[in-house]
């Protein structure tokens, strides 16, 4: 077989983690990005609040403090060796982006400003007003442009080429031209981002369908800690769009239907700046107990007391968004909010160098993962705000370097199988098939099932019902009909393929949630209310074995901080 396309290193996903990895890898070897959207359309641009690092620009701060807050925030499930890397490399990562031109907000003396975020004891979050993700992605893409790194824009990755226990490349669909392509590579990075679209209300963009998770799962590779789904406390009601935590970091209040700052009941010390898991549960509890605004399923996020000047300086995007999407002026009116699916702490299990590991905890040759689709794990059971942009750039860079070294030390492996004809046959079957099930029906039912059975509060019976529903939907998906059979820019086809990905790992989320019989971080079981360190201070692994999902475990790495009761 002749390979027209070949790169030493392939990055699947053009977001912050993918681009950062590509930039690093390109220093070592020939690198290309394959992304289903243009890199500037990635979901990292939607990150608003900031990126954390113990720069100590306003108060004395240290990486140890950042580490403690992160580990405590994770409900002690984060791997402390990984967290140590994250927080120690944070300042350098921020300076690097600043040197590339990110217009970070400043202090009066010209240094980087830092603000409070949920779960931090100190103002530690650097920001570019409330468009930090946008600012970072655009400057990073500028570096990609400068290096002229090849980007296969709007290509959807259908399959990994896996033979002889190693990854040898990818099979992709060129969306604009409707063509199948095989790209050979020595190393492949999965940086496919979030999966919020598996739920019906999310702050995630349309493309957040976790395709990389499905690819790994398909080849028997484990996903780690999939039960930990982060609900962001303040999703714009009822759209689910993100209202950044920076609003509370700058002093915004959460108010219930009785006009109370109800967080005093749940986190008397940190109040609105409690971590996201606690704040989301608090809001949902208020709503359940009839204290929503006018007994409706939302509460108010009030920032009127901050005044127009501060809002315009620190939170202009929030004001603009509320005006555009809801016709609300946040200077004069409170914002209706309800928790929305926001982030996945779990993902493809990796080492600290981004190597994907097998269920026997051994690195898998040639396959890497970074960013939200990976689980290192630095967030454990609950991520603190402003740590995800940080994870993308720190572990993206590390994975890029690791791949670079790997690619330099190895040669291209021979691909033996008929990957192209097989993929062609698959696509032909899809294009000429006469299935009965419509994509939108199956997807809506899946999203509703996940929302109903695997939300903020979970319980055995409901989770089991959820699994049954998803299994049925997986069956129905085999009979899906492709309603648009054009080969030019077929976005319907992409939605059908994405649905296939989502159904694959939706079950993994439910199975992991059912398996963990305790409440920890974002995983709240109403039938197991307490954290249980004796039995559950361990990571969940879920992987495919003989076409069934199997459960395994990975020990938590504890180095400096002993688990303790978590109070805010």
């Amino acid at each position: 077989m002749v390979f027209i396309l070949q790169h030493d290193i392939l990055i699947v996903g053009g977001g912050l983690a993918g681009m950062r990895a590509a930039l690093e890898a390109s220093k070592y070897a020939d690198t290309a990005i394959v992304s289903k959207t243009h890199p500037l359309r990635c979901h990292s641009v939607a990150a608003e609040g900031g990126i954390a690092a113990a720069l100590g620009n306003t108060v004395q701060d240290s990486w140890e403090d950042h580490m403690y807050d992160t580990v405590k925030g994770s409900d002690f499930l984060a791997d402390q060796d990984a967290v140590e890397i994250l927080v120690k490399e944070a300042p350098a990562a921020i300076y690097e982006f600043e040197h590339w031109g990110v217009l970070f907000s400043r202090l009066d003396d010209g240094r980087l400003a830092q603000r409070f975020f949920g779960g931090y004891a100190k103002p530690r979050v650097c920001f570019a007003s409330d468009k930090t993700g946008h600012a970072m992605v655009h400057e990073l893409y500028a570096q990609i442009m400068k290096r002229m790194t090849k980007v296969y824009e709007e290509w959807y990755v259908l399959d990994l080429i896996i033979e002889d226990n190693m990854c040898k490349g990818i099979v992709a669909w060129d969306i604009p031209n409707g063509k199948l392509e095989v790209i050979r590579a020595k190393a492949v990075l999965l940086a496919t981002g979030a999966y919020g679209r598996v739920y019906n209300t999310t702050s995630n963009d349309y493309a957040s369908t976790g395709d990389g998770l499905a690819l790994a799962l398909h080849y028997g590779l484990p996903l780690e800690d999939m039960e930990f789904v982060q609900f962001h406390p303040t999703g714009l009601y009822s759209l689910g769009l993100l209202v950044t935590e920076a609003v509370r970091g700058e002093g915004g209040y959460l108010i219930n239907g009785k006009g109370e700052r109800f967080m005093k009941k749940y986190a008397p010390e940190k109040m609105e700046l409690a971590p996201r898991d606690i704040t989301s549960r608090a809001i949902e509890t208020e709503i359940k107990q009839g204290r929503g605004i006018n007994e409706q399923p939302y509460v108010y996020l009030d920032l009127r007391h901050l005044g127009e000047a501060k809002i315009m300086e620190k939170l202009p995007f929030v004001r603009e968004m509320c005006r555009k999407q809801m016709g609300i002026d946040v200077v004069k009116q409170p914002i209706p909010v309800r928790p929305t699916v926001h982030y996945s702490m779990g993902g493809v299990a990796t080492t600290n160098e981004g190597e994907v590991i097998t269920s026997e905890l051994k690195p898998f040759s040639g396959l890497y993962a970074a960013g939200e689709c990976a689980c290192v794990s630095v967030h454990g059971a609950n991520r603190l705000g402003a740590n995800s942009l940080l994870e993308c750039v720190v572990f993206g860079k590390r994975a890029g370097a690791a791949m670079g070294n790997y690619a330099k030390a190895t040669s291209f492996a021979e691909i033996k199988g008929d990957w192209f004809p097989k993929a062609e046959e698959c696509m032909r079957a899809l294009f000429s098939g006469n299935g009965k099930e419509k994509m939108i029906t199956v997807r809506t039912e899946m999203q509703n099932a996940m929302t109903e059975h695997c939300g903020i509060f979970r319980e055995e019976k409901s989770l089991k019902t959820g699994i049954t529903k998803i299994k049925k939907l997986q069956q129905r998906y085999t009979n899906i009909i492709l309603e648009d059979t054009s080969r030019t820019f077929n976005t319907h086809l992409v939605e059908v393929l994405e649905l296939g990905s989502m159904l694959t790992y939706a079950e993994a989320i439910l199975v992991s949630a059912l398996n963990r019989k305790e409440s920890r971080g974002a995983h709240a079981r109403t039938d197991y209310l307490k954290r249980d360190d004796k039995n559950w201070l361990k990571h969940t692994l879920v992987y495919k074995k003989n076409n069934e999902l199997a459960i395994g475990y990975r020990p938590v790495v504890i180095t400096r901080i002993k688990p303790e009761e978590r109070k805010y």
């Binding site: 359309r41 031109g101 400043r106 500028a142 555009k324 080969r487 030019t488």
Partner: protein, 337 residues
Amino acid sequence: MKVKLKIRKFEAKKDTLPSYKTYEVEVPETATLLDCLDKVKWYQDASLTYRRNCKNSICGSCAMNVNGRTILACETHVKHELTVSKRNELIVEPMNNMPVLRDLVVDMAPFWDALQAVEPWLQPDESKVPEKEYLQSKEEVHLLDKVAGCIMCGACFGACNGREAEEKFLGPAALARAWRYTMDSRDARQKDRVALYNEPHGAWDCTHCFFCVEVCPVNVAPMDQILKLRKMAMDAGMTNNPGARHHVGFEKIIEKSGWLDEVKLPVVSLGFNLIGQLSMIPLGVRMFTKGKMPHLIHTPIEKIKEVRDIYQLAREEEKQQRKMLAAAIERKTREKL
């Protein structure tokens, strides 16, 4: 509410001409155009093709034309659009100035190529990179961040008159970003940049139609930045090109006579360029035969002194502003020391 959408359908590889198809969807009063398009695609016609992603005016995917105006579908409320346009349907079309791939999806390669051409990345002095962050004032960040907030949706490029007339014109978004790096105190190549953007099909191809300012969903005001680039070029003495000569000539003619000498302006703009000057002759002849030829003898207006007084005032104002700026910079530097 019921919304009627008349959408332009076209598939580059299949169709020779576009066609329009009308859809009707039932949506809540708060619906955006994107909500309507999704409804059509998911429940009526899966072949309808458009880009979208963040749903929140930040990813820049869903720029398209509605009733002839370029907008982002995710932030355009259909009820409002129907009210202000006083129509009973929305005409939805792809952006202009880029080839259509399918329906509302255009090939944005020309847009990205123009962006690449302005070298849109920071180019600091590599020997002076600080160990920590560069110091930058709040004011400077404030000056730049609106323009840096460009989401590269292409709306300005699609609406650009200059680009429609000259397909080598770099267009509004690329030049706005060019200005953003030129002005960044961390960038060390201001002079080279100004020269680069002063080249043919750079800043001088803009026709001041204001469309880019009008359609920009995030208030980048690209045209304003283009005009600033021109001013920087002229201040740096880069006046030997048709665009700059046009401006200087315009200014001088008005100062001299108080009204525009339409015969002289093109001659001045073209400069010392025999072929260029000769190429004006057929136009002159055509104008003459249609009776559109301006008077060859150009006399000053009666109140010319008032015009010259305005010039005088403007020049003094500018001088004053420069003085104040210089003083402010000096003060800042002294404070730092």
